[in-house]
Symmetry: C3
Subunit: 356 residues, 3 copies
């Protein structure tokens, strides 16, 4: 499996934890096969260090936060947020090598992001913009959240997120139905974002739409619905999904006025070559302040992602058993092909930079 590690794209912001998880105790996490400790110092400063004391390799995450430092549980060596050792009990000063690696951190959307590549390239502008997120506080959009660990390589999950076609088969209990089985998908790419989508016209609404829009749940009701899957390479996904009365014009104005619209964000963070953190939130345009709807949304999206997870984990096990397998391509793979090319370019750029 070792060779797959070179598949990671390092120069990117990766979601590592929710903001609320990084409180008064150090938090260990594994990102891109590296063990990291996140902590907030007493002054509130967020830091990400390699989770290994330089002395005898004890996990710093098993230690304590003291002032601005994190203190090793074994012999009390204290490191600041830049990874420099500020104290070695029993002696004056610290030996030259008493340093642990630190990583740039960024907090946004209620998540903590870590930059796993070259620190000098870390740019907050590289993170996706989400205008609607700012409108949550004022009730403009409703917010629900989720987290899952997928025991699957991140690339297979990214494939899934530029692949609206699979919803007709995998998600018949939630966000898909058989009406769309044969509706073709368009794929395009612009500025590092792959977009795949389709309109399904004059079709029965899918279960989740029926559940939340009363008039769409009536027998015989038909809607026009859209699915647009965006993936900003390497691993930030958002799905624009909605339903309107059948026959209306397919314009941004009508989409903005639709009774059901959800923007579903997913931040994939490779844990290692065969498992992936899946941080997600959904912004909905209805019942925006209704806590019961939020709770039900979180449960329904968890169920939906589990439908993907079970399948992607089975595929991962098969790929692990047979490393050389080559897929047969079908028409709905157009987005996947674009995405893999795009990521391949990023990977190559990084491996060329590493060789210099």
């Amino acid at each position: 499996m070792a060779s797959l590690h070179s598949d990671f794209v390092s120069n990117a912001w990766y979601a590592a934890a929710s903001s609320s998880e990084v409180a008064d105790r150090p938090l260990p996490c594994t990102l891109l096969a590296q063990r990291i400790v996140l902590y907030r110092s007493q002054s509130g400063r967020l830091a990400a260090l390699r989770d290994r004391c330089a002395h005898r390799f004890a996990p710093l995450s098993m230690g304590d936060i003291q002032g601005e430092t994190i203190v090793c549980p074994y012999h009390g060596m204290a490191y600041d947020g830049t990874g420099r050792c500020q104290r070695v009990p029993g002696q004056n000063g610290a030996p030259a090598g008493a340093v642990v690696q630190s990583f740039p951190v960024l907090e946004r959307f209620g998540l903590v992001f870590v930059w796993m590549g070259k620190a000098e390239l870390a740019d907050p502008a590289a993170l996706v913009d989400i205008d609607q997120y700012a409108a949550v506080a004022a009730g403009g959009w409703g917010l629900s959240r989720g987290y899952s660990l997928f025991k699957a390589n991140w690339l297979n999950i990214a494939d899934n997120l530029v692949d609206p076609a699979h919803t007709s088969f995998v998600h018949q209990r939630t966000i898909g139905n058989t009406a769309a089985e044969d509706v073709a998908v368009s794929a395009s790419e612009s500025q590092g974002v792959v977009t795949c989508g389709r309109w399904i016209e004059g079709a029965a609404p899918v279960p989740i739409v029926k559940r939340f829009v009363e008039r769409f749940s009536r027998p015989g009701c038909l809607v026009d619905r859209w699915q647009f899957y965006h993936l900003k390479a390497p691993a930030t996904s958002w799905v624009d999904f909605g339903a309107m009365d059948a026959g209306l014009a397919h314009t941004p104005q009508e989409q903005a006025a639709a009774p059901y619209r959800v923007l579903s964000y997913a931040f994939l963070t490779p844990r290692d070559a065969s498992s992936t953190h899946y941080f997600s939130f959904q912004l909905r345009n209805f019942a925006t302040r209704d806590a019961a709807v939020t709770a039900e949304f979180e449960q329904l999206y968890k169920a939906t992602f589990d439908e993907d997870r079970v399948l992607l984990e089975a595929i991962q096990r098969e790929e692990d058993r047979h490393p050389g397998l080559r897929p047969v391509r079908i028409a709905s793979d157009a987005g996947v092909a674009r995405l893999r090319r795009l990521i391949g370019t990023l990977q190559q750029k990084e491996s060329e930079a590493a060789e210099k």
Copy 2:
């Protein structure tokens, strides 16, 4: 462990499931280190396919049966019983490579058998004949069944099934006792079947005989009992075991008239190099329609096979730790030596055919 895989004999019928397990849902199973899906189409046709969609490697066993096809759970590709793809949703026709391997299947003795070698060599006549099985329906013989997974290489289990001597030590609570410890075993071979057996004369009956024959359970009662272990290479075993009053002639006629006789069949199917499916049934000549006896027989034979299993699994772990171990041979290994030679010949024939 990889090299041990070449030890499988492929050109044989291997029990894969009981008939009743292959109903309205696809059934995954692993045979000879290959993952297979068994299914019955709506018309009742039995099929065995490689359990992996050609597109993105999803397990077909997680999909549905539709008409004569099995449908992939990920994107709805439908394969018929020959493994050809009959439908790709969202496009016309199927790409050239959209094929999965199919395997010959055969249903007999309430079991589903799969031929894992060259399809053109699959011959129903290669399966063992069991005249007594046909007599079960009319009450001529009583039938009990069992299944165990042994975490042991199939060859070590096959050894055990041409080795009546071990019963005196391993099975003292069920089918053996100390009376036979020093009774020698004869070994012979004919037409691909190794036979090892012995008569134990004028000895106390073993526990299972005492349990079911009232007069043999009386204090001081002595019997003549026989154990004949047959193994048709590579992996079909039957044991002819019975007890009669001490001193009677050891003739087929007296054996047929004995108050206790059991033909115990075992179909070994390598799951992989270090685990083996053990499908079994027993035919008994007494209480043939008594469901309570059947239930107790199933429990007793499960206990007996567990005595073997615990030991064979410990041996397997030791062989895994020390791959180069060479056994010291003793007198009772005569049948094992014949069996290993016979299987070696089959393996060599297959590897020579593979090289051509």
Copy 3:
């Protein structure tokens, strides 16, 4: 990991079990990556054999003791305490190769020790002497016992046992406190024993001392306490730990008269490269016949060793993930450096002897 196995020092007595565990059933154990069976024959003779029948590799520990022999559970072959086969059922005599390796054994301090190196070098005098152990029966010292399995390489545990400094951080709930954080440790070596220690003067007593000495538990009470950590290479440790009123002379006489003194012995036995048996007992100079104190001591020392164990197991996992890691050394590592040199010399002597 295989290369680490050569790190074992074979020519030493290793604790394998407590005396009471080796009773009327054979006892399997793994020492230095080798599987051994311990048994007491009917005449009471203790034996240690390789736990593998020469015939078909069944574990002898799954068999029975009969007279002076241990009997294989598979075919009844019986081995005596020297490892020679005395019986093969079904034949006269035993084949030439029917021998299993035997190991020298020694019973002392309520423990069974096995010599894993060359039998001709096994010398009872190589085991540590403990005068105080003999005084337990007469109530001169109180005795408590413990056992833990550490999933860590034995060398990292040995390091821990010549490292009094870690107690200030790891054991603040039991045998350490922050008063000693900056008190330097001296290290010396004599006749194969590394000794590291310090006096902590005029400091608050540590929790375990407060618990058992009433006057040391009073608010504001200060004591002088000592910690002397001895390790006889390769893997026998004893810690001399006590507390007296602050200001008394630091002489053997005052130490002998101190209200709290504990000699804590640990016998480390590598199970394999990444796990270690940790047999221990403590001799205390107070409440020597009080069973409740013994029970509480066993619980408190278990808790103390668990504090080490959790940390050492985390370090082991990190070393397994990154085999090439090199520690940064700090002042308190002086004893560790001496110990590693000493053990390195023993290892080299053994590997040179093996090459001859």
